[in-house]
Symmetry: C2
Subunit: 411 residues, 2 copies
């Protein structure tokens, strides 16, 4: 007996609470969610209360109202964040509540909006949410990003379908990518996470000094890795020792690059939906870790603003490996949603680094910087993978080890 | 050329912004709204920005998540309010932002919930929102309550219709009650408000010492009115002198009773949807202004809890006159929503008084109490009107003046 899609949605909600957040009895749960996805938020709340959640707290958003604000509000409102919004995130992150982000933005929601407003709002938000973001990057609370279809996002992915068909198709792709197949979704996810851990272990044993990327799209770059770095993927351990999965789906294994040790050209192979704008056909020139030149066929100003929100935004914070033959990639679909597209492709992020350095929990910001960790109020993933991507690892002994061949893991 | 219903909804949104709140350029607008009614909130935001609104801020709610919380959250969460929710209301009320409450609760959303949880939550909410409520009662910011259909509310009103028909019918009733007829809705509302002002003037000229109510439902009560009280209705003046309309629709003219001067029996003639529970067939015995006995055929515990949240909750704060032949009443529909049912019927409210006393803005709480104003963290309207209601006004000279005869104004 197969489950219908409504039952599968419940399984997905349950997976997010149990594997994504690993919510414990008595813990609070904050859900950020588009109002359009209220049905799914309710399923998540039910699953949370079933797991003994103390209280579910909502942080709603709405693309349409966000767009109206960007178009019509008074100009200086974009220079600050309302204090209760900051307090909300500070309080729930400090107490260690679970944070479920239902991310389902219309990829072009802010098309035509004054980029200066977007840039200022992003700076104000980054500054106000600094504590929250630091706790998130250090896994001081369990957090999980997931996505469910909205009308606009589904139509952007499947422009030739009518709204209902597009949403149904997008649901199908999401559930498949999350291994929600009607069986034991939690066990499926565990199996998948174990498989990611296998690559993590191999990479950690090699302890590469640097990675060299090359493909026909034009990427030709050497990426240094910090002393004492480690790779992670799938389940990770929170600061309290409880495992959680920060992204569902995820196909990546990732670590941080050494801040001043990236040199070469990086060419994006998928568009980036950032701040409600689609950035397409873009590339970076990088010298000693810093982006020195930017080109984009579309959305260049938004991209230039994004790498300029602070000093650290023009340096890198993540290097992630994803096989070209991953399930999301094999779907052949361009999701225009980072949670999916980043898991279809090797990627980097500019901005804040995940502190994937052994002993980081006992290091000061200064010590982490010395090791090569980048700090910023932003963290933006973008995709570079391709079917002909070659990545070579260089060990501290100078040995060259094939890591990726023809877009896939060599081991 | 007549307007279609989507155009009429725009007219309603525009009416709320222009006549309800009389929003001024540069003012912020906070909208409290069920997530299910996001479409209508967006229309209101558009109208607000068109009027020069500085920023629209949302306070979303969701009946389903509220019910899940009441059923499953940990018990002590009902004893406090999250600090950011209090701060939000304190900040926007202090700056004098407009407050639009889109009120569309499922009248029986909390059926079967532990009444103790509801009672404690109401107390905690009342205490946390004290400043906000005081500013609201004193019209220190423009506020307006309106309603739009939700699935659950429409089905409660029209149980025999399917969901879409029920919502369409409820929209029709709402638009009619608000005089949104495709013509100039703002002018229609002004004309209606002027008509209410005619009764206000007559009542203020009589300056009654007390009102005596009697009908066959069993109401037999004398209601004293404070020295220096005044009646109001329709448009009122905010503390800044700008007129606004706190309820759209409204059919009432109202003032406050003298706290210790109500004696007799008050019998409700319509059910009361309060805190997600329907209270039916209820009556109060009142002595020297205080409710001394309560009876309800359904929901008695919720009602007893409601009049016990604090000392003032068992005294009265509003006396309102509505003709039995008002349009909402003539629709013959039981809305199970106070905004509508209170405007189909003469009503009282227990709890906090509107300070409808000349010079109140310069009086301390003590001075207002001395005049007979009641203070409480709650304010709950309930309906007493009927087709045979007789209300007699007694002037300070002892003259008896018919105010209501057979349920309608005698003048």
């Amino acid at each position: 007996m197969t489950k219908n899609v409504e039952e599968l949605k419940k399984d997905y909600a349950d997976l997010l609470i149990r594997s994504g957040l690993n919510l414990r009895k008595g813990q609070r749960l904050a859900i950020s969610c588009p109002v359009e996805c209220a049905d799914f938020a309710r399923l998540c709340a039910e699953a949370a209360y079933e797991a003994g959640c103390r209280e579910v707290i909502m942080s709603w958003n709405d693309d349409a109202l966000t767009r109206l604000k960007y178009l019509h509000a008074e100009d200086d409102v974009f220079d600050s964040v309302n204090p209760w919004e900051k307090d909300f995130r500070d309080i729930v992150s400090e107490e260690g509540a679970g944070w479920l982000a239902i991310y389902a933005e219309d990829p072009e929601n802010l098309r035509g909006v004054d980029p200066d407003r977007i840039s200022r709002a992003q700076k104000a938000h980054g500054k106000a949410m600094e504590k929250f973001r630091q706790r998130e990057m250090r896994s001081e609370f369990p957090w999980c990003v997931c996505s469910v279809p909205t009308d606009a996002w589904a139509k952007a992915v499947f422009p030739d379908m009518d709204k209902e068909d597009a949403k149904a198709c997008l649901w199908e792709e999401i559930l498949a990518a999350c291994r929600v197949d009607g069986g034991d979704a939690v066990q499926n996810w565990k199996d998948h996470s174990d498989e990611l851990q296998r690559h993590v272990q191999i990479l950690n044993e090699y302890n590469f000094k640097e990675l060299r990327y090359k493909n026909s799209a034009g990427t030709d770059v050497t990426v240094g890795l910090p002393e004492g770095h480690f790779w992670a993927g799938g389940e990770e351990n929170g600061a309290d020792g409880r495992p959680f999965s920060a992204n569902i789906p995820t196909e990546e294994v990732f670590t941080l690059p050494k801040r001043d040790s990236i040199n070469g050209t990086i060419v994006a192979t998928r568009p980036l939906a950032h701040n409600g704008t689609l950035i397409e056909g873009f590339s970076f020139e990088v010298k000693d870790g810093k982006i020195t030149d930017v080109h984009a066929e579309k959305g260049e100003q938004i991209l230039r603003d994004a790498i300029s929100v602070d000093e650290g935004a023009s340096y890198f914070g993540e290097v992630a490996l994803v096989p070209y033959d991953s399930p999301i990639s094999n779907s052949g679909i361009l999701f225009m949603n980072t949670l999916f597209d980043e898991n279809a492709s090797c990627h980097f992020a500019f901005g804040e680094a995940y502190p994937n350095i052994y002993g980081a929990e006992n290091m000061s910001e200064e010590e982490l910087k010395e090791r090569g960790a980048n700090f910023s109020m932003t963290h933006v993933d973008f995709m570079v993978g391709s079917s002909d991507m070659t990545i070579t690892g260089i060990t501290h002994d100078g040995e060259e080890v094939p890591v990726f061949v023809n877009g896939n893991f060599a081991f």
